[in-house]
């Protein structure tokens, strides 16, 4: 019995908490993706690069002497116009085409490619590590936890709750859900659908940028940093149900736990095939995912 408690306390629990801090970060990425898909039907292949842009922006601004707390506000604000313009100039251009699913996927894929290379051009291909803004650690139940990870979990959960509040409890969120449900009807009832589209895309991009700021101190910053992360976020969005907010949260926390706990028993290099295998299985058996999409629930 004592062995079991030791095992729970010193092996499973730290791994689960590590998984939780990764999970919160993945959920933040997945939220942006799933809101953009739920409303605009766009698979944003450049989401990982927007995340990298956020991290690099934070790095540059920190170099100019901007504090960490200011970055948490400033970077998302700077990302908003980038997202707005991307929607107006690229997505809106092909939005009324019959093949917009494929065309928008291809456009954002190209955009991501260009952004990644631009980051390499500006910052060089090397890995950079920003300073940890919250030093030290805390002992909880005999486990030592870095303070920054605790902050990440708390802040991330608060942010997720805030997104949920905005989407489901404000007039703005009602507009977004109405446009997702039936854009023509919403438009005739006075919802400025075009602006809602651009605004939602910008909001998703800002969330990706904010994840970049939050994760930079843990995972370090390099131009291709979006790639590994985006695959996980895609899997989360698919498993949770594309366009579903609660789906992204549940699947994000679930899958990162699967990844974290499975790495105790199988070599961590196999956790990627495992997660993608789950994604393929869900697509086969229940392509709509665990939950219904935005505006249809």
């Amino acid at each position: 019995m004592a062995d079991l408690i030791d095992y729970l306390q010193f092996v499973l629990a730290p791994q689960a908490l590590n998984g939780l801090s990764l999970g919160v970060a993945v959920v933040l990425m997945a939220l942006g993706l799933t809101i953009i898909f739920g409303l605009l039907d766009v698979i944003n292949m450049a989401h990982g690069e927007f995340y990298a842009v956020g991290a690099f922006l934070a790095l540059t601004l920190a170099g100019l002497g901007v504090g960490f707390w200011a970055l948490l506000v400033l970077v998302p604000l700077l990302m908003l116009p980038i997202g707005w313009l991307a929607e107006r100039w690229l997505i809106a251009r092909v939005f009324h085409s019959r093949d917009r699913h494929i065309l928008t996927l291809l456009l954002t894929f190209g955009l991501g490619m260009i952004m990644e290379d631009l980051l390499k051009l500006v910052y060089g291909p090397n890995t950079q590590r920003p300073e940890n803004p919250i030093e030290g650690g805390t002992e909880i139940l005999g486990m030592f936890l870095p303070n920054y990870r605790l902050f990440l979990i708390g802040f991330g959960l608060a942010l997720i709750a805030a997104v949920w509040l905005v989407v489901f409890r404000t007039g703005l969120g009602a507009m977004v859900r109405a446009a997702a449900f039936d854009k023509d009807m919403a438009s005739s009832l006075g919802v400025p659908v075009r602006r809602v589209y651009a605004g939602t895309f910008a909001f998703g991009v800002a969330l990706a940028g904010l994840s970049g700021v939050l994760l930079a101190p843990i995972y370090s910053v390099f131009p291709t940093m979006g790639r590994d992360f985006i695959l996980m976020a895609f899997t989360v969005v698919i498993v949770g149900g594309m366009g579903s907010i609660q789906g992204a949260v549940v699947a994000g926390l679930l899958l990162t736990q699967v990844q974290a706990l499975s790495s105790l028993y199988i070599s961590p290099v196999w956790s990627d095939p495992l997660v993608f295998g789950i994604m393929v299985l869900v697509l086969m058996v229940r392509p709509q995912g665990l939950f219904g999409r935005l505006g249809h629930a």
């Binding site: 690229l90 093949d99 456009l107 894929f109 190209g110 196999w270 393929v280 392509p287």
Partner: protein, 346 residues
């Protein structure tokens, strides 16, 4: 959810009543001009003793085979595959293993790759064709990721290093034989195979099989009312595309002497999609033109900056927005417009 499809080059280029007559469709003329240019290039490169460019052109043709397989799905059937590199890489690994460990036989390697591509395509097709539209794109992507990561982790397959030391071989055609170590002969061999693939696939796409695929692309829901089983046709074209990709991949280790897991990664699949979009969706010759142009571009731009992705990305996005039918489609549309004007004013 509306069917996700891409419009392809319509009547001016290909098909229509004209293709029933003995006259060659304009798209085939374009292919012939292209073949002549390729032979001219080979002659110049051989005369100047430039093996490097011959090898580069051979590689472009090999990746053109992969792009053709993407075109079969995207251009003719309206299915976007983001994981075609799975079959390309499979063909490359099977061919490398056969050449290294079984027998240095070209035909055996190609047959083994074809078989492996067909079987894997059947399995992948049954899985991927359960879903439609963007879900199809994502499931093909996921399948390729699982396969690529598995190869990447498998020590027996060389893990992240891949397989090296693939021997160079003699390719026998009855009394004749040809050495893959010689840049010119291998280029001509791959060019010949590309021509055969183009001719065969074009014929198939003009045959009732291809017309049924076009019907699926146009409106899948109506196809059953015409008495066709859309699912069976989509599976068939998926297996066909997997076989084409595997055969193209089988040539890769003969050219480079090694294979690596990168061949299966998303970059390879993504590049194939870029090639098809820039070259011309639904033309089959477009992927070949696109592959050679992009390879040339990468090599030219790459000689003065390593940031060629920006250039390729911009060209790709411009093609998506402005050239819905790619370079070949734009060229064909211009030719047919000129032809009509010529007829109108005798």
């Amino acid at each position: 959810m509306p069917e996700a499809t891409l419009r392809t080059v319509s009547d001016p280029g290909r098909a229509g009543p004209a293709s029933r007559s003995s006259r060659l469709a304009p798209v085939h003329w374009l292919a012939l001009i292209f073949l002549a240019a390729a032979l001219g290039f080979a002659a110049v490169a051989w005369a100047t003793g430039n093996g490097f460019y011959l090898r580069l052109a051979t590689e472009a043709l090999i990746f053109a085979g992969l792009a053709m397989s993407v075109d079969l799905l995207l251009g003719y059937t309206g299915l976007l595959s983001l994981g075609q590199a799975l079959y390309f890489g499979l063909g490359a690994y099977v061919s490398a293993l056969v050449l290294r460990d079984v027998a240095p036989s070209f035909w055996l390697a190609m047959a083994a790759a074809l078989l492996a591509g067909g079987v894997a395509g059947l399995i992948g097709g049954v899985i991927a064709n359960r879903v439609k539209g963007v879900y199809f794109a994502l499931i093909t992507f996921g399948l390729a990721q699982v396969a690529a990561k598995t190869v990447y982790n498998t020590r027996a397959l060389g893990a992240s290093d891949g397989l090296i030391g693939i021997p160079q071989i003699q390719v026998g055609f009855g009394p004749f034989s040809l050495d893959t170590a010689d840049p010119l002969s291998f280029f001509l061999l791959v060019l010949g195979l590309t021509v055969v693939a183009y001719a065969g696939l074009s014929y198939l796409m003009d045959a009732p099989f291809g017309r049924t695929l076009a019907a699926i692309r146009a409106n899948e829901k109506r196809v059953p009312f015409l008495g066709f089983n859309a699912w069976r046709y989509k599976l068939a074209v998926y297996v066909l595309a997997a076989c084409v990709a595997a055969l193209a991949g089988a040539l890769y280790p003969m050219l480079r002497g090694f294979v690596s897991p990168e061949l299966m990664f998303f970059e390879t699949s993504g590049n194939a999609v870029i090639t098809v979009i820039v070259g011309g969706v639904g033309t089959l010759v477009g992927p070949v033109v696109g592959s050679l142009l992009l390879t040339a571009l990468r090599s030219v731009v790459g000689s003065w900056t390593e940031h060629h992705l920006i250039v390729v990305g911009v060209i790709f996005m411009l093609s998506v927005i402005f050239l819905r039918k790619g370079l070949v489609g734009a060229l064909l549309a211009r030719l047919s417009r000129r032809g009509e004007q010529g007829r109108a004013t005798p």
